[in-house]
Amino acid sequence: MESQDLPDPLRARVGQQRWRPAMYRMRHFMQSYVADSDGTEEIYAEVRRTVITDASSVRQDLEAVEMVLKDEHVPGTLLRLVEGDGNRALDHPSDAEAAAFLHALAQLLRSALDQS
């Protein structure tokens, strides 16, 4: 979303969201789209709705997921992202299984963006 012509409160909100660190953005995404979803299809449908009105914010979410997956973390960090912020119970809770979940989420975001 470009913002030169927006009212001040909207420009402020855009700026605030744009400069969030990747981990902050990732946690917000998990809390918003994953935590109360009942399956992957619902996550995809909600992301698509956002793509239609502001694809750039979904691109930033995808960049955040990719960055979080690329970075090194203290053990347990990815697991807390998925089971804590995302409220998703894993069958074999571990960072490896959490990473697999996040990779699938990144693919879902790419697919949603490809449809735009």
Partner: protein, 174 residues
């Protein structure tokens, strides 16, 4: 004006229009009416967190505890599953949250985003279960808990000329 500039200008105009349509005054919500009106669009507070959903696990029906295990008809298993204590509490607390945070909600909705917020009511508003074995600390086991906190997800209704918000979900969160 370049094509890209024209697209950006059009997007900014639509966003600004939504912002002014949403107005300064926060709306009130009746969650039962909200879910009836926007069920097809995904509204699910009463369906997943309503006070009438059976609490304890029962393989014959949907329960709050059963969501921890992904029992049918739940499609996914979760680490926390809570329900509101009663309908009047939902409406009262969601309205309180919306009134206190309207400028942020309004901006998020105008920008076309899914608004997510959280709030601590300061008294017991929900009950349910959390997985005491989460984070790999043990086997999956639902443990009862009560909470004062909840999360809210708010969206704009699709396809309407005037920007109209609805509650996608408001759910207790422990």
């Amino acid at each position: 004006m370049s094509k890209r500039s024209m697209i950006n200008f059009a997007a900014d105009s639509a966003t600004t229009l939504r912002y002014y349509q949403l107005g300064n005054e926060p709306p009130d919500f009746d969650l039962t009416a909200n879910d009836d009106a926007y069920r097809d669009r995904g509204a699910h507070t009463i369906d997943r967190h309503g006070p009438d959903i059976p609490l304890r696990r029962d393989p014959r029906t949907k329960t709050i505890e059963g969501r921890i295990y992904g029992d049918l008809p739940w499609a996914a298993s979760v680490t926390r599953s809570y329900q509101w204590l009663d309908l009047s509490t939902i409406n009262r607390e969601v309205d309180a949250y919306v009134r206190l945070n309207w400028e942020t909600i309004r901006a998020d909705l105008a920008l076309g985003h899914l608004h997510k917020g959280d709030y601590d009511a300061g008294y017991r508003i929900g009950r349910g279960y959390f997985n005491s074995g989460m984070y790999g600390t043990g086997p999956r086991r639902a443990r009862y808990g009560e909470t004062t906190r909840f999360n809210v997800l708010i969206r704009l209704a699709p396809g309407l000329v005037t920007a109209t918000p609805f509650i996608l979900s408001a759910y207790p969160w422990g």
